[in-house]
Symmetry: C2
Subunit: 322 residues, 2 copies
C-alpha cells in the first residue's frame, strides 16, 4: 500500500468550512481567522504501551486520540475548529486505519472539527494530534486567574479511568457492569467541549484533568499564586469507586480519585456569587458540576478526608517519566 | 527527572511576541491573528530508524526536526511564526534533550519562530512538530496553479541528502570533503524560508522536495492538471554527484538526483515573462535557482537524459510504507 493512497483514502475530504482556504494535500493548510477571534492551539502525543495498550480497539483509540485534544481546548474555553493528525504505524494496516479514522471522524463531526493536515509514517505506533480552536479575543480560560475566596469545581465523576486501568492491569476487579462503564471512561472519554465554552466569563481559572486531580489542581494553584482546600467526601465518583473507597481497597480507590489520570473532566474555579449560574449551566448541559472545595490565600493544596482531617501523604500524580 | 521539570527547563520561555496571549504552560497556547493575514499550518513526524538513524547528533536532529517543517511553510510562501513540539523519548536523557533543543532553538531564533506548545512522553524516539506561518490573505503558493507554458525551477542542488544516506548505508563511498558536505545536507538542511516568501506573487505553484524531485513534481503536475518535461542535464547537483552520474554509479546517482528525498529544496513554476525577476531573487537571496524544464498541456512528467531521450523507467520515489 502506497503512503499517498493511504492518506488520500482516509484523510482527504473536500474542505467544508469557508475558513479553510487550502485543505489536506498541499504542503500546509491555509486557514483564515474570523475578525475579533483568537486561536487556541495544543498538541498531544499518544504512545502505544504508554497511553494505550497494544491491541486497543482502533475505533475507540481514534476517538480518544481526538478527545484528549478537544479536552485541552475545553479547558481553555475554546470552540474546536481544526485538527492535524500525524501518525506512525508499524504497518500499513488498512483495516486498522479505517477503524481508527471512523472513531476519529465520528467525534470530529460531533464537535465540528475539520481535519486540515496529516502525516503518516512507519514506526512504533504513535498518534500526535494538533488541535486548533477559536474564541472571542480575551476570553481564554487560563490556569492563572483563580482568586482567594473562589469555589473549586469539577465536572462529571473522577477516578473511573484509573480504576479501569487498575482492573486491566489485574490490580483490582470490578463487577461486569461497573467494568464496562469504567473501561469506556478510559477508552472513550467525552471531552467537555460545551462546558468549556459555557464557562467563558464564568470560571476564573480552568484546566482539564489528564494527569490526576491533585497534581493538575496543584498546577492551577501555583499559576494563580493561591492555595486551596478540597474535601474527599464530596469529590464525585462512581458507585464502584465509592464502594472501594469505603472498603479494603481504600488506598487504591483514593489514588484513582485523587491522582488518577485520563478522566478528562474539567476542574475550574469561580466566584461564590456565580453558584446559581453554574448550577444552571450544569442543568442545561446535563453535566454534573460539583463544588469540591475553596480557594484560599495560602499556597498549596490541602485535601481533607471524610472526617475533615488533612491527608498528609497524597498519592503521587501521574508522571510520564516516573 | 520529572516530566514537568523537563518541560520547564527546555521548553518554557516568556512569550516574546505580542501575538502570543498565552504561551507554553497552559492547556493550549492562545495566538492572535494580524488583520488581513491567513495562517498556514503543517505537521511533520520524524521517527528514529526511519527518518534519522539512532545515534544521530542530537543538535543536528533538533535543527532538522524544525527545518523540515519550515520547509513546508516555505513551499506555501508563508513566514514562520510559531511551532509546537511533541516528542516521545526512550528515557529522560537531559543532556540529549538539551542538545536537541539547542539545535531547534538556534534555527527557530534565526527565522523568528516562537515555541508555543509542547508535549513530552516516554516511548520510542519520535519527534512531531506543528508549524504555524503567516501570509497576506490570498497569497499562499499551492500545488495547483501551474500553467502550460510555465518554466519549472528548483532551488539549490539536488540529491546530496540521498547520496549521504547511501554512503551511511555503505552503498557508495565519498571523498572526505564531499562526504561532509553531503552529510550536512542530510542532517542539517537549510529550509528555503526567505525564498518561499520572495516567490509570493511570482511562482504559480510550489512545493518542497522532501520525497524526491520526480515524485513531488508529479504531485504538483497532477494538482495543476498539467504535464511537464525536465532535463537531467540541467538539474543542479554537487560535483560529487555529477562525477557519479558520469561514471559507473550512474544508476545510484540518478536515483539520488531524481528520487532522493530529504533535500528540502523548493520546486516551483513561473511564467517565462518573470525570468529576470527570478534571476534577481536568486541573486539577492544568494540561492541558486535553476530552470530545469517547462510545463506543457499534457499530463505526467517526462524526464529527458543528457542526450534528450526520455527516460522510460524513472527511479521510484521515496515511500514511507514501501
Amino acid at each position: 500500500v502506497n503512503e499517498f493512497a493511504l492518506i488520500g483514502r482516509h484523510f482527504q475530504r473536500a474542505p467544508r468550512s469557508a475558513a479553510v482556504r487550502v485543505g489536506i494535500g498541499d504542503d500546509g493548510a491555509v486557514i483564515s481567522p474570523v475578525p475579533g477571534a483568537e486561536w487556541v492551539v495544543s498538541v498531544d502525543m499518544l504512545v502505544e504501551g504508554r497511553h494505550f495498550f497494544a491491541g486497543t480497539d482502533a475505533r475507540r483509540l481514534g476517538h480518544k486520540t481526538l478527545a484528549v485534544n478537544l479536552s485541552d481546548l475545553a479547558a481553555m474555553g475554546a470552540a474546536p475548529r481544526f485538527a492535524l493528525l500525524a501518525g506512525a504505524l508499524p504497518d500499513a494496516d488498512d483495516e486498522w486505519l479505517a477503524a481508527f479514522m471512523q472513531g476519529f471522524r465520528a467525534l470530529a463531526d460531533r464537535f465540528g472539527v475539520e481535519l486540515i493536515g496529516g502525516d503518516t509514517t512507519r514506526g512504533p505506533r504513535n498518534l500526535c494530534v494538533t488541535i486548533v480552536g477559536e474564541l472571542p479575543a480575551g476570553t481564554a480560560l487560563t490556569r492563572g486567574g483563580a482568586q482567594s475566596g473562589d469555589d473549586v469545581y469539577v465536572s462529571g465523576v473522577l477516578g473511573d479511568a484509573a480504576l479501569a486501568l487498575a482492573m486491566l492491569q489485574g490490580r483490582t476487579s470490578l463487577a461486569p457492569d461497573a467494568a464496562s462503564v469504567a473501561q469506556l471512561r478510559l477508552e472513550a472519554p467525552v471531552p467537555r467541549v460545551t462546558l468549556g465554552v459555557a464557562l467563558r466569563g464564568v470560571a476564573t481559572a480552568a484546566l482539564d484533568l489528564s494527569d490526576g486531580l491533585t497534581g493538575d489542581l496543584g498546577h492551577l494553584l501555583t499559576d494563580s499564586g493561591v492555595g486551596a482546600v478540597i474535601d474527599v467526601g464530596v469529590i464525585p465518583c462512581s458507585p464502584a469507586l465509592a464502594g472501594k473507597l469505603a472498603g479494603d481497597e481504600r488506598a487504591l480507590a483514593l489514588a484513582c480519585l485523587l491522582a488518577g489520570g485520563d478522566d478528562y473532566e474539567l476542574c475550574f474555579t469561580a466566584a461564590p456569587a456565580l453558584r446559581e449560574r453554574i448550577a444552571a449551566i450544569a442543568a442545561s448541559l446535563q453535566i454534573p458540576l460539583t463544588r469540591i472545595g475553596g480557594v484560599g490565600p495560602g499556597a498549596g493544596l490541602t485535601v481533607r478526608d471524610e472526617g475533615g482531617t488533612p491527608i498528609s501523604l497524597l498519592p503521587a500524580a501521574f508522571d510520564h517519566f516516573a
